[in-house]
Amino acid sequence: MVERNYMKLEFLSKSNNESFARVVVAAFASQLDPTIEELSDIKTAVSEAVTNAIIHGYEYGEGLVIVEAVIEKDKIEIIIGDNGKGIEDIDKAMEPFYTSKPDLERSGMGFTVMETFMDELIVESHIGKGTKVKMTKTFKSLSDRE
């Protein structure tokens, strides 16, 4: 079991920061001694949320993406936020294959990936104020893996 820990990262909404964000969160999560699969799940979910902030939140404009993570016991909570335009219809945005930007060849799978690879996903959004995606994942304890 790991003691409570917290991190916060802020960076400009540039697409080359997508890999930076997922590597930082994965390194932070490694304190929980995750399996390669669990680490891969976290990296993918973070990548999806940060990409959404850049493409949809800021629509390629400049803004800050804020990534926070909390480790408590065997669980990680990751919060990815932006101060961008917000999502008009969250239910619609979360439908598999729905994309508001089909011209960009987006698959519309971002939220579905986050939901599948994490245990819990909560999306809060306010028009003109921004979006916050909260995801949690409980890591299997070492004894469960044996």
């Binding site: 697409s15 080359n16 997508e18 890999s19 997922r22 390669i36 699969e37 891969s40 990296k43 993918t44 990548s47 999806e48 990409t51 850049i54 493409i55 960009l104 060849e105 987006r106 698959s107 799978m109 971002g110 579905t112 990936v113 599948t116």
Partner: protein, 110 residues
Amino acid sequence: MEFSMDILKNYLIVKLKGELDHHTSEDVRKKIDQQYYNNNLMNIILDLRGLSFMDSSGIGLIIGRYRNCKERKGRVFIVSTNPYIDRILKMSGLLKIINIYSSIDEAIKD
């Protein structure tokens, strides 16, 4: 992101290496399309064995190439042996329309 492209008959063979995300996929997409249309090709083989990471941007890239090939009555083939990449491919439903192979030779023979 490193990648190389070869042409064999009417196949464009694309070998991707590194991490395929939103940032890297845009450049890959432009270069694949350029080679595909400039050389008047029909099929595309995407070799994902060198990838260490792929998110849904990779799914978007594959679906887009599938559409282009379909328009020309061609096909897209995926070569992959990485279980983490196979998981996202499977989740996206892509494997209902595109087959996955363990080598380039196997894809061409099909």
